[in-house]
């Protein structure tokens, strides 16, 4: 039997000695233990927030709301996580689904274009080295039109395959490729300024 990838991404495995085995906390959370769920949050919120922030186009309020929605949904649907994929993959799929569903119900959630010189809206990015470069990149991604931005973030930042992205966004693989192509061209233009 091929072993299902319970913990496929090394980045998700807590270092030895860190409190609790990640999967152990998920199990306990599945049984109703809110404190265990907090451990799960602590372990996964950073990556989830980075994804949310980029998906919503850089607005921290929108990103925080999305993050909260995602974890609340994750809590409610924890029973459906069966450990046949890494927990972070499951969570990220949930994040994209939540984003898409929220977009359907709230029409005002249109892609917000950041003014190119507004640097105050991307906390955390400043922590990394090469500040100038990365802030430009985050802003540039945030300025992309929604379809292109989703495709770029999911494929080139998060590393999902074309087919996975097509399935999640309910579009064809061809559309995903076209959006990617568009995203990369636009980013080139905006970054070269």
């Amino acid at each position: 039997m091929t072993r299902p990838a319970l913990v496929s991404d090394k980045a998700d495995v807590p270092a030895e000695g860190v409190e609790g085995n990640g999967l152990d906390s998920v199990r306990r959370a599945q049984a109703g233990d809110v404190d265990a769920f907090q451990l799960v949050y602590n372990e996964h919120a950073g990556r989830a927030y980075a994804l949310c922030l980029r998906l919503v186009g850089g607005d921290t309020n929108d990103a925080t709301e999305l993050l909260q929605d995602v974890f609340i949904r994750a809590w409610r649907k924890l029973d459906t996580f069966r450990g046949d994929s890494a927990f972070s993959s499951w969570l990220h799929r949930l994040a994209v689904n939540t984003l898409l569903e929220n977009a359907r119900t709230e029409k005002r959630r249109t892609a917000r274009v950041l003014p190119m010189d507004d640097t105050s809206r991307l906390p955390g990015a400043a922590r990394a080295s090469g500040i100038e470069l990365k802030m430009d990149m985050e802003k540039a991604i945030a300025s992309l039109p929604k379809g292109a931005r989703l495709a770029f973030v999911l494929h080139d930042v998060e590393g999902y395959q074309h087919q996975e992205i097509a399935a999640q966004l309910s579009v064809s693989v061809g559309t995903v490729k076209a959006q990617l192509h568009r995203a990369r061209r636009l980013l080139r233009e905006r970054l070269e300024r």
């Binding site: 039997m1 299902p4 319970l6 085995n21 999967l23 152990d24």
Partner: protein, 292 residues
């Protein structure tokens, strides 16, 4: 003896034997490779084979007077036996070939269920029949009240319950939960990542391999617990019994007396630790040893 007289004698004895009046039915139905199929058969047997066609083939042997029904669409189908006498249903033998990746749901009362070669999802329910599964379903849920359940094969997700029946599982699983009240549970073979095995008085024997990052729970009130691990296992054991005894044969650590001088507790490791094994009994004795 004349045939008629024989049949009457058999009928008088209340035996549902092949000599009693029977009819054979053969039916086919197109069903998608991952379609859903529901099967009801209260008494007799249900024998299922997975195959590579998008077709369901049924060969049924029914008692005279009973009717076999099957219908459905390419995505979902259902079959059942309509008995001529609901209060005393006769045995029906259903032999069914199904697309291997089917999502299969079978319910019987005393009919035995035997499934081979299905790689889809299995949901099997008997009251007092036996359940036999051979193969590697992607998901298995099997429940009996007083029937035995035997599984030979691997599945990422397994839930098996019986009350008085015995459970045997030979295979591997990423997530297995086995439970009985008084039936014994015997597990051997492959690699497990998560296992929860519980009984009230049934004896538990586990001789599988423990994945290093796995978590294993053994709970019983009064059953014996016998855990045999391969030599190079990396595991941490935490064993508590309120009123029983612990026999540790994997390390030099001795069990400590429990609270109030009753029962025992043991915490020990093999290899470099890793798999978390928790054993809790009220008074059932526990043995931890290396597999031969």
């Amino acid at each position: 003896m004349k045939l008629r007289a024989l049949i009457s004698l058999v009928a008088a004895l209340g035996l549902a034997t092949p000599l009693a009046a029977q009819k054979k039915v053969e039916r086919r139905l197109a069903l998608g490779m991952e379609g859903a199929l529901r099967v009801h058969n209260m008494v007799g047997s249900v024998i299922i084979h997975g195959w590579n066609k998008d077709t369901v083939l049924v060969r049924a042997v029914l008692a005279d007077g009973d009717e076999f029904h099957m219908g459905g669409t390419y995505t979902g189908a259902k079959m059942f036996v309509e008995s001529s006498n609901d209060r005393n249903p006769k045995a029906t033998r259903l032999e069914i070939w199904v697309p291997a990746r089917v999502r299969l749901w079978v319910k019987t009362a005393t009919a035995n269920i035997d499934v081979t070669g299905v790689s889809g999802g299995l949901d099997l329910y008997v009251v007092s029949g036996t359940i036999d599964v051979r193969g590697n379903p992607r998901e298995l849920n099997a429940e009996a009240i007083d029937g035995d359940i035997h599984v030979s094969g691997s599945s990422p997700w397994i839930r098996v319950k019986s009350a008085t029946g015995a459970i045997t599982f030979r295979g591997a699983s990423a997530d297995a939960a086995l439970s009985t009240v008084s039936g014994s549970i015997k597990v051997e073979g492959g690699l497990f990542e998560r296992a929860k095995i519980e009984t009230v008085t049934g004896n538990i024997t586990f001789a599988g391999q423990l994945d290093r990052s796995g978590a294993f729970d053994f709970d019983t009130h009064a059953g014996t617990v016998d855990i045999a691990v391969p030599d190079k296992t990396n595991a941490s054991f935490s064993v508590v019994t309120i009123a029983g005894r612990i026999d540790n044969r994997v390390s030099r650590t001795r069990a400590l007396a429990g609270r109030f001088g009753r029962g025992e507790e043991l915490t020990t490791e093999t290899g470099a630790g890793g798999a978390k094994v928790n054993v809790r009994t009220f008074k059932g004795p526990v043995t931890i040893r290396h597999s031969p």
